[in-house]
């Protein structure tokens, strides 16, 4: 029913728009309006629609509370005898009865009557809602329409409403971010009450105990995050070693060498890499690349574990190639043509021009692209979860198996967990540090990219 009402309000507001616009047009004859007719139309529509919508939202959120309070008041004698839990239960039964949910068993003698009353009151409330929304909408429409004069500043007030709307939208986005960070901070704080900060940041052993239930005894794990972060960095390093050169080379190819037709076809294909779900990369890494790496290693006489940082890093590198290539392509393309021509006119070849003029000019942007790619690599979960491993292993050898921050977060939150268990809480602490790392990387990258943009202004 609410949906119909909303639709009706919209129709009415639309009607208000035409009414306002036509009225403004009709009085415009021979003189100048302060605002264009459509602003008058929007103004009327807003006055018609907004108050009615707000009323509707408030009504719908408070109606059940009020109606149930009324029902309870009429049953005051019986309810007073009940404990709080019982009262809640009784109310639930009444509600279910009223909604006609079949098979509701009740042993309350007054439930049937109460349910009938609830239904009746709800129906009355609904009629009242329709009536009052209609009154508010029509009143708003009529009032706003009668306000239309030559001088009336419809444009200004529409702008004001629009500004408020925009502000509220961005406020929601910002508040959500702030809320996430705050909850991260709060939970991390809980964790650091149980595990000292220095132990977490500098400890060399990561081995959270798995406590199935609280009474199973002390969940004394080791929470030294160094191996987890070193694993993350190792994999990110391997990934960048793959993605950096390939991404940069393809960016140079697309921006400087490729003929337009080749570029138009090949570039979207490369960017498709970014659209492949990471799970797919994950099993590609686990089932194809990891065994391949192992075999190659064995042939070279190297000890390679079944799950290795190398396999995960290589696949992650492939995943972030398009990041680097398309960002670097953008900055290289942004290098003014006049610099290229200046270099060619000096008798430089194309590769000399790229090496000595274009790269130095685009360097800050390229660095920015790299940093963004690294922060992407650090935050990646799926590939490492499938191909790298779960054991926190402090090593710099990419042939061994390592784990990463994101994987440990997943592990910490999987399964039945006590919520105040350090193991569970460690996820938040890891998340916080990871967040701080990527935040710093992003800020630095954006600063560099921005400085670069200003360079040619």
């Amino acid at each position: 029913m609410t949906a119909y009402l909303i639709a009706a309000i919209f129709l009415l507001a639309l009607n208000g728009f035409y009414a306002g616009r036509n009225r403004a047009r009709s009085i415009r004859v021979g003189s100048r309006l302060n605002s264009l007719p459509q602003y008058h139309g929007i103004h009327v529509a807003l006055w018609c629609g907004l108050p009615a919508l707000i009323l509707l939202v408030l009504w719908v959120s408070f109606e059940p509370v009020v109606v149930e309070a009324l029902v309870q008041a009429s049953l005051s004698a019986e309810f007073r005898a009940l404990s709080e839990d019982q009262a809640v239960l009784a109310m639930m039964e009444i509600r279910n009865l009223a909604q006609g949910i079949s098979g509701v068993q009740t042993n309350l003698p007054y439930a049937e009557d109460a349910a009938t009353m609830l239904t009746r009151l709800s129906r009355i409330a609904d009629y009242a809602l329709v009536a009052s929304v209609a009154v508010v909408a029509i009143l708003g429409l009529g009032l706003a329409r009668s306000h239309i004069t030559l001088e009336f500043q419809a444009r200004q007030s529409v702008e004001r409403v629009f500004n408020v709307f925009i502000f509220l939208s961005s406020a929601v986005a910002v508040m959500t971010t702030v809320a996430i960070v705050l909850s991260l901070l709060f939970e991390s704080f809980q964790f650091f009450k149980q595990v000292p900060l220095h132990e977490f940041l500098f400890g060399l052993k990561w081995n959270p105990q798995i406590a199935i239930r609280a009474d199973q005894g002390a969940s004394t794990g080791a929470f030294g995050a160094v191996p987890v972060f070193s694993g993350t960095l190792l994999i990110a390093l391997v990934a960048m070693l793959v993605a950096g050169p390939i991404g940069l080379a393809s960016a140079v190819y697309f921006s400087e060498y490729a003929r337009p037709r080749v570029r138009d076809v090949a570039k979207p294909i490369l960017e498709l890499l970014a659209g492949i779900p990471t799970v797919v990369y994950g099993f590609f890494a686990a089932l194809t690349v990891a065994p391949l790496v192992r075999e190659l290693g064995l042939e070279l006489g190297l000890e390679v574990e079944a799950r290795s940082a190398l396999a995960a890093g290589v696949v992650m590198g492939i995943m972030i190639i398009p990041f680097i290539s398309s960002l670097a392509d953008d900055v290289i393309t942004a290098v003014p043509q006049s610099l290229r021509e200046g270099s060619y006119a000096m008798g430089a070849t194309q590769s000399e021009t790229i090496k000595y003029v274009i790269f130095p000019a685009a360097l800050p942007g390229i660095v920015g692209a790299f940093l963004l790619a690294i922060s992407r690599a650090i935050g990646e979960t799926m590939i490492v979860a499938m191909a790298a491993g779960l054991n926190a292993n402090l090593t710099a050898n990419p042939l061994e198996n390592v784990t990463t921050v994101t994987v440990q977060i997943v592990v910490a939150l999987i399964g039945d967990q006590e919520f105040d268990d350090p193991k569970t809480l460690s996820a938040f602490a890891l998340g916080l540090v990871l967040f701080a790392m990527t935040l710093i990387l992003n800020v630095v990258a954006l600063m560099i990219v921005k400085r670069y943009r200003e360079q040619y202004e």
Partner: protein
């Protein structure tokens, strides 16, 4: 075809009608002394197409040693296009085709096998908008000598940088900050930096495309002085929209119109006694 007899001022001819329609002139007979003995640069039947559109029609024009040739004409008439033929910069434009023969010191440069790198080291170019590289002043000047390996030692390179800056009249202003970025200079200084960069490789020919269009009168005067000095050692072609500038710096002037070379002659003659109605209309400011 244009008849090459001088016209009495004020008489209206075939050309004026063509002009009013604003259509390309097509292939026309150039009036005046387009060809020289012992030219430094010689162009024969040079035509340029951008895709299907023809921008230059059968240009025959020589540039003499130690002279400044001014290229004038209304916007879009092909001055830049012509200039860029001489150092093959049109190669960098997709779909641009240049036909005809262009010789520099009797060496054919407009064919596929010609060595573009060595050509451009002999033909410097200064662009309309100063385009210093985002490098230090020193590195800007040293760019050409470095890529062509002209110097055997750092001292030699320092010397070239200093000489080039001195010849471009910029040395005094930047001598104490050679390591500062070239982009940090003023517009006029940047343009002189670009000129210094071009002469650092000691080219035979310098092409300048409206080098003063972004500059104030003082900076313009300095660059004009500079062009006059450089004439002793280089062959110079300069595109300009300023009649006064053409009159001040050049010895010969070529008037382009809608892709054709209409008239060439000594600067004095072109400005005092043009033989073509189009030329006269343009230099007296009746259009363009």
């Amino acid at each position: 075809m244009i008849d090459s007899t001088p016209r009495a001022p004020g008489s209206k001819g075939v050309l004026a009608d063509t002009l009013e329609q604003d259509a390309p002139l097509g292939s026309v007979q150039t009036v005046g002394e387009a060809l020289l003995e012992n030219p430094s640069v010689s162009c024969r039947d040079v035509a340029v197409h951008y895709g299907d559109k023809q921008a230059l029609f059968d240009i025959n024009l020589d540039m003499g040693t130690n002279e400044v040739l001014a290229l004038i004409g209304p916007s879009g008439c092909g001055k830049t296009t012509f200039l860029r033929c001489i150092n093959r910069m049109n190669d960098t434009i997709q779909g641009c085709r240049v036909s005809g023969t262009i010789k520099i010191d009797d060496e054919e440069i407009n064919h596929a096998d010609a060595d573009v790198v060595s050509l451009r080291s002999r033909v410097g170019m200064v662009f309309q908008k100063p385009n210093p590289f985002p490098k230090s002043i020193y590195d800007n000047i040293a760019y050409g000598p470095r890529i062509h390996a002209l110097t055997a030692s750092n001292e030699e390179l320092d010397q070239i940088v200093e000489d080039s800056l001195k010849r471009a009249g910029l040395w005094k202003e930047v001598a104490d900050r050679l390591q500062a970025p070239g982009t940090g200079l003023s517009g006029g200084q940047q343009q002189r930096l670009c000129i210094a960069r071009a002469i650092a490789v000691n080219p035979d020919v310098i092409l300048m495309d409206e080098p003063c269009s972004a500059l104030d009168p003082i900076a313009t005067a300095r660059i004009e002085e500079l062009i006059d000095e450089l004439r002793e050692n280089f062959t110079i072609a300069i595109v300009t929209h300023s009649m006064q500038q053409a009159a001040r710096v050049s010895q010969r002037t070529a008037y382009f119109h809608m892709g054709s070379l209409v008239e060439v002659g000594s600067t004095d003659q072109i400005f005092t006694n043009p033989r073509q109605r189009l030329t006269e209309d343009y230099i007296t400011g009746r259009f363009g």
